[in-house]
Symmetry: D2
Subunit: 353 residues, 4 copies
């Protein structure tokens, strides 16, 4: 069976390079081209290397960056993975969808659009079918987004708990990594030995996206899940991996053992379908005093292809009527490129592409 | 008027050195001696320098560290400031109080003792008189503690808000500085590019100390304030200054302007008395998008003697029925040595010493 | 005596803000205006705060940034301090000098010009008079530069040693702070947990500027000192303070005690004249095993106005026929704004302005 | 062919854990046991995890640490890899060698012993045979050391250059990673935003070990290579990977192209023998402006088993009669555990074990 040709958009950025990393030797997909703005035209991937734990093959490193060309992409590729910065992504992605390309995007531009799903295959696989109501769909095109990185990190644990025990309120504070701001992103003088308690629009995204994702799609509309999210977001001097503190208000009052079992045993559609980038166990629970930590847990996930795709929950505690935990996820893998790759794998398994 | 002779205990540590810094040229107090364990005997302060922004006078830097000697201290000093590590402080502080010395301590050993106040002069000055019920008091000795650094940082804002609008619940997540763990403290391999979501006993302290401080002392007993505190504590790679995210559940629903006014206009006993280390404005409210930050706001406070003694509130927001903010305070000044120095200044002003 | 009115150019940058810091309450100078590019027009200094250890007065913080205006500056100011980025500074500084303004600049644009001195008052005060050969001088204008920050840091120790023992070769490797690259400067993803062994043109500057500074100005030309400088430059994740490792090849073979005495006893023109920003002891020698360090020694210098103006030498060693040391200096004070302020103080004391 | 049973000593430390990492699924060796001091007895490897980029198999993570037991190790193991701290390693290693165990050690205790080689298979493979003059050898025991991490990093480039062009003098300044100090090692308050220009005995080691390694072993004695090494050593806030600046004084004056070719084409005994942990190309030369950097180049080396075993040279320059470069190597792989593993592979290939 021949592989599906894919374009990578925004190939010089943090997310673009993670797309490349996750798509090398992929069983379903083959990189047709790496695209970016004119500034990067003709540069080799090696020249614009940003991801620290790069594991690229020699060939890829010498691949040259091309200028974005909707017509060419539409001719050669069934789908495109978009790591374009959110402020630029909207129109290009629409153009591609209109030209019949299936767009899997990390950008926020279309997340709140009427028929555009924010898809996490473990959480809301049925939302994928909202694309059938997109105007582009008749032409073969569509737009599927992944969630904001901070929302993604806690989406699976919240979905598992909501289903078993009923979520009423979620209080979350984030300790977000620098790679989330892209490159050049945060100036070092703001980062070294410092914390910046502000990330533009991040709290708003967390307070709305999670409700959309954990809600349902009925009669052409997304109905939001009814629980409240109250978010405080901050940037810390960590390279990769978002840590988030959670306080949960639930309908039921399960024991900590029951909460732990609910998380550890959680499996979703990607696990049932055996998708290539799906972690065998999507939620890992650690029992040590002092975990999860970015440097040890951001890359959690097995097998090798699913490194950085599991989320890790630790320090489960209970008190004052609430449940507390810290959650760790990789912001540019599970919360970025990896999320969209898994979405495309689901689409392939369900014969959407 | 001659100055009161004071001993500094644990003079080689982070808190001990902050005591020295705050007591140089102090109008009420004069350092009689710097004391520590035998390991440091005879070393000069310059040899054990740990505080980065040191502003010591030349004389002090050459002062030699002496071994702790209760008898000698009791003979020469009216009071002692203790920066002894909490696991060692208890018995020594008791011995000193029994010998007639007034102990102002940063250690946690006695904080939960029946008649020992956790004193913040802006918050609960009347708690000071609990010492009259201590057995040592007849002899002139007593123990007054300052609060845990994370509790201190938010105590004044919470007290102001509780008084005006009634506090029901406080959800707090901390971004705590490395200096809070002392020296050598956190290994660099755990700190660089990492966050550790665990600080031993810190959450328990926050969830109990604030209730004790904001409660009342009646009939020989502390009655706790009834609001709930739900805490998540983490260590970030910052040198000085604890940042804390707050979500507040209040009885009333004031406007953000009212909340801001309540904080900005807050003044306490130290401001009324004009105590030397009291910041003119104990709670600063910043309106920028991205403040407070450790590197800019940890040292807030005027005049010069009160640097690091003000707390800074920023990013006041409202939504979902809650109020949100970030709060910044200096963990080894306001939340450590400075807290005890201000306590001693109150005691002096009230003729307790 | 009324103070000299001065303009600060590039007031929103790291160097510009250090100029402001050093000129507050200055006995000779008064800030007439803060100037920058149009992007910053009308912003308050508080809005663009970059220097972490800011000690600005309230008034200054509210001062508004104006757009650069040569005519206006020439009318109102006798001199201008320039913190303009080097790639933009050249033409503006020339225009100002032509308009009769004395320009003291941190930019590199004019450093290698025929009659423009690279001035360090302790090292080559007589070079100041080269300005008499500048075409602008008849009109009252001139350009005096300070050296590159890395060159400045070691200039005084090298001058002292060259005079006493004769320098043949200087091998230097730098550990340079992030603030040297300005703001936004180095991206945090390049800085956290990393070292970048390249700073554009830095090695070339070190290998030429030191020879010019330690040489002589005769017959309208600078004659370079004959010793060789061999430099390796790297950026480390430090906020302020350049550390440099030195290996020196000398004509004589003094004892380490003689080298130390030569450095400790070194005094220059600023010390003799008692210039306001001159450190009493311009070269401090530390005897501890592990000093100088950026966090403890970058701010060396007394009295208060001269903080960050002394350089610190440590780990003096000898072997294999060479002398070794580490040298520390504050790159944006002694090696930046402070250098130019001291230059202006010398000009004032010598009645050039 | 059955694998050789090996013991890992100091298994809980940074080097010990790197030994475990490099010996998993090793074609020659099988881990018989992990040994450490009594403090760690019975702990699982997972409990003492220190290496950030751990790639351990599940089984290994659950393996329990045993207390060091010379008798038991001698009975079960042909060789032992020692990551014991240098101050404790000496006597234990001697005991093991006396008991007939071949000891491959990262500790410095025996490096300067008369018949003990400091072995780098690419550099001085013939030194291995010095062990035949060790008293233990008749009994099957011996001690082979790897070099200090900073010496190792530059040994292969220096050997290549010395052979082709003749080395007269080497001026080296180091930018050394925190992992070199082990765990807990450097306190975070000394590391964050700081550089410490002192590492105990490091400069002395560099100035002697390189001469021993690049010299010859004749008539039972090591004759040192005649070039001089002049070293300045400093610790920077980097997790893994030592960067070193080099200035080389050579007999000949080759072009930069010739120097580069000499490095790129360098191959040693491990490459000829195809040893499992040997990097195909032991010296990589990078042409970018700003490389090598710890975060991109510390893990250089192919194939997968040889990651972290290549050294990277960059910024080759020439001037003033000298050659300049920056060199990067992984201090706990090539400069630590990996060095000893490669030594053992050489011993196996040469039928010494």
């Amino acid at each position: 069976m021949s592989k599906i040709q894919v374009a990578i958009l925004g190939a010089t950025g943090m997310i673009g390079q993670r797309f490349i990393q996750m798509l090398e030797d992929h069983p379903y997909f083959e990189i047709e081209g790496m695209y970016a703005s004119e500034r990067s035209e003709g540069k080799k991937l090696a020249d614009v290397l940003k991801v620290r734990d790069h594991v690229y093959k020699d060939e890829t490193m010498d691949t040259k960056i091309q200028v974005m060309d909707v017509k060419k992409i539409a001719q050669n590729c069934r789908i495109a993975f978009s790591g374009i910065p959110s402020d630029l992504a909207g129109p290009t992605e629409t153009e591609l969808a209109e030209a019949g390309v299936g767009v899997f995007t990390n950008a926020g531009s279309h997340r709140m659009d009427k028929n555009v799903p924010i898809l996490i295959p473990e959480v809301n696989p049925e939302h994928m079918y909202a694309i059938k109501d997109q105007s582009y769909y008749s032409n073969g095109g569509f737009i599927i987004t992944n969630a904001n990185c901070s929302s993604t990190g806690i989406a699976a644990p919240l979905a598992a708990i909501d289903k078993s025990f009923g979520l009423k309120q979620v209080f979350v504070s984030t300790y977000q990594a620098l790679s989330g701001a892209g490159y050049p992103g945060v100036p070092s003088l703001d980062a070294v030995g410092n914390v910046v308690p502000f990330i533009s629009h991040e709290e708003e995204k967390m307070e709305t996206e999670l409700g959309k994702m954990l809600g349902s799609y009925t009669d052409g509309d997304f109905r939001y899940a009814p629980f409240k999210v109250i978010a405080n977001c901050a940037r810390v001097p960590v390279v990769d991996g978002h840590l988030e503190s959670l306080v949960l208000d639930m309908d039921k009052q399960p024991s900590l053992e029951e909460v732990e079992a609910c998380l550890v045993n959680f499996r979703g559609e990607p696990q049932k379908l055996g998708l290539p980038s799906a972690p065998e166990q999507p939620i890992i629970v650690r029992k040590e005093d002092n975990r999860p930590q970015p440097v040890f847990d951001a890359m959690a996930g097995r097998p090798a292809r699913a490194r950085g795709m599991a989320v890790t929950v630790g320090r489960l505690r209970q008190g004052n009527g609430y449940y507390k935990a810290f959650v760790m996820s990789h912001n540019t893998l599970r919360g970025g490129a990896g999320g969209s790759v898994l979405n495309a794998e689901l689409a392939k398994a369900k014969n959407i592409i």
